[in-house]
Symmetry: C2
Subunit: 311 residues, 2 copies
């Protein structure tokens, strides 16, 4: 039953991260052809922003070492296909292949900046500045990921003004869009509201903010609902709930796109996504990965042929 | 980080259903002594309303056929210990053992009334009326469960006025509290708000309403958040996410108490529950059941000694 809620957006753009954020956390690399087919199927299911891969050094993310092979195989896909770039070298590789959407990856905390980027927060922002400028000069759209916005495995609670500072720096260097990441999945709706309110006050338009929640503690969809109530219209999600965070014991990671679409459909919010086709795609990918999707909706809607190593 | 939200309740009473709604869905019966120990541990973890068992005919729910043995073993537990009764006979058995809290189980839809109770909705309400009256005369507190409030596997969408009619009938016959059940887990937050608004208009006080969400499509916590925003202060949940719905393919069932407590704690809402002790209890019960808890929070917080048949 569709019951629209006054004050909620009428349309949400889903930023699908399964092919990048999901597959980069797999123990073994998925064949390039399967990745390309996955992206095609996601597009057929109605997704229009599909983060495709990452141009990081293969040493750090061997699962996505085939970015150069993959990208030309999907160049005809009629969708926005952002790619992650960690530095100048990654940007050069991505632009050379014709990427039109770039994403950079910053941290709200010093500990994660050190662990993930081997730099301080300010050093990493300094690295990104020329990257963002060059991407913009090349006509690319730039997304800035901000990880650990709500909690950090080393530092615990993250002071929200610290998050606002990093967001403002990324916006000031030219990012078109920011994605607020709850990398370890600890946030609850009050924190989401509080951060969005602070970002309002700092002059960052809600229309340029996306949210990126992890379901490690089961909070992702409640947090998304709080963000929608604040007016957010870009939500990151991962088909079938692919992916996880190496710092949490649990395998549960990204918000599953199917669970998100179920909620948005019920709220009368347009996404353009065909839930049944998307579920079929996640079941197909689960077959390649050899284990069932952790998405509740995929489990409920999926055929019984879904691989079932799970309970 | 605790960020209270204006307008949300400051305290929520969790109606713990794991020992009844959870264990009644297990394939094999759990030994009576383990059930009693489970209830004691739930109390030690801070839960104060613990639905203990069901006085239904053993033929229908063999998993809880030991109600007569169990109830005296927990009579010293300092908590409210509601028990489910399907009819006069069940009530007599429960009252004879000293039960002070009774729950009856109605359906918002004809199909589920027929499948679950083998009666029409009105016939089942007629059966409950003398049961509720006698329970009240005996000084017992009576909860009325209303199942299939948002969707029904046979009928699909459930017209909300139909739900309001059943709720009003139960209230009029003397129920002290109602529990609004999304038995197949299909609801989204807009439906929750819509039903609660209709119940307001029908004169049913929100203070006498509980919500009972299933996580079949991952919506339970988002729906709970919507209910809290409406002022609901009683939330049903099942320790470790025990239980499921026989009509859904998925094993995912009740909202996990741990996932609920994580959200409430983050919102600064008091529950009296010690999350670590509760997680330990669910891990202990998972050991008895031989499979890991489906609760995201239990998976994230639990020790690595949690049985791990899962991915």
């Amino acid at each position: 039953m569709v019951v629209p809620e006054p004050g909620l957006p009428t349309r949400v753009r889903i930023h699908e991260v399964g092919a990048r954020d999901g597959l980069q956390n797999e123990k073994t690399a998925v064949p390039t052809k399967v990745k390309a087919e996955f992206i095609r199927r996601l597009r057929t299911a109605g997704l229009t922003t599909i983060e495709a891969t990452s141009f990081v050094h293969p040493k750090w993310v061997p699962q996505l070492a085939d970015a150069e092979e993959l990208f030309p195989q999907i160049s005809d896909v009629d969708a926005e296909l952002p790619v992650l770039v960690p530095n100048q070298r990654g940007l050069d590789r991505a632009l050379a292949l014709g990427a039109r959407r770039i994403a950079v990856f910053a941290s709200a905390t010093e500990s994660f900046a050190k662990a993930n980027l081997n730099r301080t927060v300010d050093e990493s922002l300094a690295v990104f500045e020329p990257v963002v400028r060059q991407a913009k000069d090349a006509g690319a759209h730039v997304r800035g990921y901000v990880s650990m916005c709500f909690g950090d495995p080393w530092e615990g609670e993250v002071p929200l003004p610290q998050v606002v500072r990093v967001c403002t720096a990324l916006r000031d260097m030219g990012c078109d869009e920011l994605s607020l990441g709850d990398t370890i999945g600890v946030a609850t709706p009050g924190q989401v509201r509080a951060l969005l309110t602070l970002l309002d006050e700092a002059g960052l338009p809600t229309a340029e903010l996306g949210v990126h929640f992890h379901d490690t503690y089961g909070q992702a969809l409640a947090n998304t609902y709080a963000a929608l109530q604040h007016g957010v219209t870009t939500v990151d999600a991962s088909a079938g709930g692919l992916g996880g965070c190496p710092y949490a014991k649990s395998a549960t990671g990204n918000l599953a796109t199917e669970d998100l679409v179920w909620m948005l459909r019920g709220l009368g919010i347009e996404t353009g996504v065909d839930l049944e086709a998307l579920t079929a795609t996640s079941v197909w990918m689960a077959g390649h990965l050899g284990r069932p999707s952790p998405s509740r909706t995929v489990r409920a809607l999926g055929p019984t042929t879904q691989p079932d190593k799970d309970q």
